[in-house]
Subunit: 114 residues, 2 copies
DNA sequence: TCCTTTACATACAAAATAGTAGGTAAAGCA
DNA sequence: TGCTTTACCTACTATTTTGTATGTAAAGGA
């Protein structure tokens, strides 16, 4: 299998499919925030600096749809919702870690202002 | 070091920096095409299906600027130019391979039309 | 001199992605 | 009843990325 269709879009390489799962500005930060255990919505918002409500919500919804995370609702006084990694979500970390290593490598060989 | 500046832009995580090197639609296909050895411009154009001249040129220029590939010009009858991976470019393959594996994993657990 | 081949370049348009600003629902409590 | 907290949603705008179409330079050969 080399190319295939999903959700009315054609993919030519597995990497393109990987990217719809962890690509964009915010999906990886969200997955990393959940790496040490579930977090509620408000916690994610403070853990992940600079993220807006809109971005956080849309990316959480996409990750949930793709079965990378799941959403738990606690019916309480002020509502409580937590997000947790699924097994599929955890599978992403091999790639995420490899990307981190490559990024660090490129930082070291590049003139960067810290 | 957690955030830093490069080319007038601020980065908060090494992955963001990795992504400016291998992100976008065409950089990884180009790197993969060069994996088995240097290729000339015209060869890349046929190896990488669907790529346009504009995309191929701009991505080659960016990869060259970032020292991921280098450009060799042969002064000949019709001009000849080849592109070759540098050591830095080769460093990307650990991440690229990890992404490929994750992509394949997600393809398998997803209902995909092949 | 004109033609052909190779490797580009450039203006413009379209599409995808991200950000801004403001609003809402639910439910207990004063 | 009105207030507060948490977890969202929506319309609109801005920015970034990609694609389309067309053009050009160099150099040898007919």
């Amino acid at each position: 299998m080399e190319n295939f269709i999903y959700d009315k879009r054609i993919y030519y390489h597995p990497i393109e499919f990987a990217m719809v799962h962890i690509g964009g500005t915010w999906k990886i930060p969200i997955l990393l925030a959940l790496r040490n255990g579930p977090q509620r919505y408000g916690e994610l918002k403070t853990t992940i600096s600079h993220i807006t409500d809109k971005m956080l919500v849309t990316q959480l919804r996409e990750l949930e749809k793709k079965k990378m995370i799941y959403r738990s609702v606690y019916r309480q006084k002020p509502p409580k919702v937590t997000y947790t990694l699924t097994v599929h979500g955890k599978q992403a970390f091999a790639a995420i870690d490899a990307l981190t290593m490559f990024g660090n490598y490129m930082i070291n060989i590049t003139e960067v202002i810290s």
